[in-house]
Point group: C2
């Protein structure tokens, strides 16, 4: 619809026909899960456009329940099936825009009569709501898949009062995040009473249960499969259009396929990834909307090339927000990058003003050129702001150290005089210059095994939160007196979040010691340990 309405604004004369297989020409797909709980009470709020309005306002001929079933590129025609009566017809085109989206993956091992549903369209939502009418209050449902849709569905089914299990094949929820960043989300859902099962592959789905391959048996009056999507590329492939390695329709920077009269956009089209230019699906609403608009410009003759995709994303996990942009540490390492990793735990705004809440932040930086490769933020208030600022910085190639110099708005209700974003920049700068040296939470056991001493420099009042086994407690203020105890040994310093330990590490370094800071402090170590425990994995990598 972005393409069609934009094209009309650019050209009053052109004939514009929209073919849509479902019964809705434009709907709020990101809002669908929230109608399950009633957070979005009015189903009509999810329906954004109608063929009547498109005709009246934009002179667009939008035909719902019409499926494009074949393309004849030589004749420049599309074969269209009218779903209500099965009749087919040919429609000619000068330019054809493919925007068929992506189809939910199906669970491989479900019985034919198993109550498995996927969620993509308003029609799907209506079916799920009908099914839920037959589920008793507090009945059991299983959501398979711990990504955005899986978490949102688990949240909203739980809000509806149902007994919800969330099964995730991977070691943590939200594959976009690294494990230690994701573990608070699993903990939060567990705390609400959602039965989160990590590393849980589905062995079978029966009429009233889900069997896991570890032998677990989850009762299930309804199963929601939210295990990802595949681009709807078959129409394009059948017409001989090239596909990319991702399985999406291959396009150039102007969204043109291998046939110059055919364009492809949205979840069906392959995008370029911002960091290394590789092909990616990046099935995100923002990109789909932008490319829809851009393809109209391309057709009308005034296009600018598409920028590669950073993949900025965010999800509300039952009140806890998780956001990410670019690469995770895991992806960066898998792709062979040497990285610097930064964890911080700042407050959302000045701690002296009421309502400040903790954030958990992670920055992944290319060790060779200080480029920001990715970021993750988890918390409640202020998560979206910080990920958007980092996404903006990444889109213009700002170095990690340069985050220190961003002039962000400060009053105590909104941030800090040194905003959490600036602090990431300071840490990045200290790491780039070698002023600070750090180890990661999963490297601690190796350091200790190699003979390093772990010094916990927190204030006494902070110790109650928990202690890392083997740590010796010496507050920063006592280090000047006691540092000689460690002469000749490598020292790992550790505080609650990494900041006091930075002061301690500087002091010990100035006093001639070999010292490293445990990045992110006790909190990151705790989150990492918890992630490994949830996934039933050992702490050391």
């Amino acid at each position: 619809m972005s393409a069609a309405t934009r094209l009309r604004r650019l050209d009053e004369e052109r004939e514009i026909i929209v073919l849509e297989r479902s019964s809705e020409v434009s709907f709020a797909n990101c809002g669908l899960p929230y109608h399950v709980s009633g957070v979005i009470a009015d189903r009509e709020a999810l329906s954004l456009q109608s063929p009547e309005r498109l005709a009246a306002r934009f002179r667009i001929d939008a035909r719902v329940r019409h499926e494009a079933v074949a393309i004849d590129r030589a004749a420049k025609t599309v074969t269209v099936r009218r779903l209500d009566d099965g009749a087919t017809a040919e429609i000619g085109y000068d330019e054809l825009v493919l925007s068929p989206g992506a189809a939910p993956r199906r669970l491989a091992n479900a019985a034919a009569d198993a109550p498995v549903r996927t969620l993509r369209t308003l029609d799907d939502l209506d079916r799920i709501l009908t099914d839920l009418d037959d589920v008793p209050p507090a009945g059991s449902v299983v959501v398979v898949g711990g990504g955005f849709i899986g978490i949102e569905m688990a949240d909203n089914l739980h809000r509806r009062g149902l007994d919800v299990a969330l099964v995730q094949r991977g070691t943590h929820l939200l594959a976009e995040l690294d494990e230690e960043m994701a573990s608070p989300i699993a903990d939060h859902l567990l705390g609400l009473g959602v039965d989160v099962r990590l590393g849980g592959a589905v062995a079978a789905v029966g009429v009233d249960h889900v069997l896991l391959d570890d032998g677990g048996r989850l009762p299930a009056a309804l199963v929601i499969a939210a295990i990802g999507v595949t681009p709807e590329a078959s129409l394009a492939a059948d017409a001989g259009l090239e596909l990319g390695a991702s399985g999406g329709i291959a396009v150039d920077a102007f969204h043109r396929t291998s046939d110059p009269s055919i364009f492809a956009i949205g979840d069906a089209a392959e995008k370029r990834e911002a960091i290394d230019g590789s092909g990616t699906l990046a099935t995100l609403a923002g990109l789909a909307n932008r490319h829809g608009r851009a393809v109209a410009d391309a057709i009308a003759g005034g296009a600018t090339p598409a920028r590669p995709a950073l993949g900025t994303s965010i999800v509300d996990a039952a009140g806890l927000t998780a956001a990410s942009v670019g690469w995770s540490e895991r992806v960066a390492r898998r792709r062979g990058r040497e990285v610097r990793v930064i964890h911080t735990h700042p407050f959302s705004h000045a701690s002296y003003y009421p309502g400040a809440v903790p954030l958990s932040m992670k920055l992944v930086v290319d060790a060779h050129d200080d480029r920001i490769l990715g970021a993750q933020v988890v918390g409640t208030d202020g998560v979206d702001k910080r990920i958007d600022v980092i996404a903006t910085a990444m889109s213009v190639g700002l170095a990690a150290s340069a985050l220190a110099d961003l002039e962000l708005a400060y009053a105590p209700q909104y941030g800090s005089a040194k905003d959490p974003i600036n602090m990431l920049g300071y840490v990045a700068r200290n790491l780039a210059s070698g002023e600070d040296r750090v180890i990661q939470w999963h490297e601690l056991d190796r350091e200790l095994a190699a003979g390093a001493v772990l010094v916990d420099v927190r204030a006494e009042a902070q110790l109650a939160e928990g202690r890392i086994p083997g740590a010796q407690w010496i507050p920063v203020e006592s280090l000047r007196e006691r540092h000689a105890e460690f002469t000749g040994r490598r020292i790992v310093v550790q505080c609650r979040v990494g900041q006091g330990a930075h002061t301690a590490a500087r002091l010990l370094s100035e006093l001639g010691h070999d010292v490293v800071n445990l990045d992110g402090g006790y909190l990151t170590w705790r989150d990492g340990r918890r992630a490994r425990a949830l996934a039933e994995l050992p702490l050391a990598a």
Copy 2:
């Protein structure tokens, strides 16, 4: 304190002495107004550091109630007066960092016994609280000055239950904003019962009242003067250091004054402005903190030059948030720039998800090179995020049109698939390409006087909000039938916020008409008209 603690982290050996005239070595000055109302209930929360802690943690010798009264640059000494007993002494220095801040301006025409207070330090706060003990419940106080501090004090005195008048000499509150952006703030305060007086110069202050030069008489058991600050540059000037045109101490990009052994930072030092490099005071906490850290780097030998100041700022005006960065339209025009101006009124997040609230946004763009010169955002939720994204974009010189391509995090709780920031970019791009042509709210009367016809293209249900005199109502959907009525006339199209009118303008332009869109639609015109009414000025510029 940023400078002192950073320097200690860089150098364990150096002797570091801090001289502080007040009794607090480091306090949350941006939080002071909120203790007046009890929003920040605990006074101790405002005190961030103590000499004892600085000594124990950083081996810093911090001396409160010690005033530096003279500098002997040749001898490299500072004369220090101990305020408790008046004793003076000389302290030698290798490097001297001046960070004396800025002093509140005094009301010129107050009687000697008038109860006028200013707010800068915790000591000032304590005096105001003592004074307030003598003000009866619901007694009258007058705040003079409609900037950040004035608005925050008016808000918090009002929350305390007092009868508050807010007197602003200028035509609108918050000089950083343009008048039409600021008028909702005055309206909001008026709605809460604060007696906002715009264009109100103080003629005299007596023991129990304030007289305005329009003859108004405001009862006042206490008067808060918040009419700006002047840099505390006299110590530097007396020592023969150069001052800048702004009155601040002149420094280079490494915060070095005209004496290479003396540095100056904070509100007393002049900064470079980001847009045209001119000298500015930019008395903002973020810059002060950053420069404090940077001066330590400079002294220790590892500095990077200071970036020029954008002046990003934000204020909570009794629940309504106003933020700005860079230049206002007024400043840009005064400095001779030809600008494109964009007003939008988006929702804070997807309107189909509960809790979406309106934002009012303004972007000021250089007409020659599409550079962003400034932005203003007013609303409740999501204001800080949008100003921070624009500030980040400005800091790297991103073109206004490029805002369209930023990949911002979208889920319906946080934003829109086309975020308000992206929409600003689309409008900027349409203006840059000439696809869209606009006039501003204050240009409408001139257009109509010159014979243009004003066409209101809103949906019928939107008309109840108000109508612009002289507008003819034709909804977008009827324009294709009726456009011939305007053949040969210039057309101004207008909707609620500018977006439907963009569709109408494109349509009419495609049909061969001379058409311009009223930027920001009815809402911006209404805010502009209201601003002029509040200031008792005519609507036409």
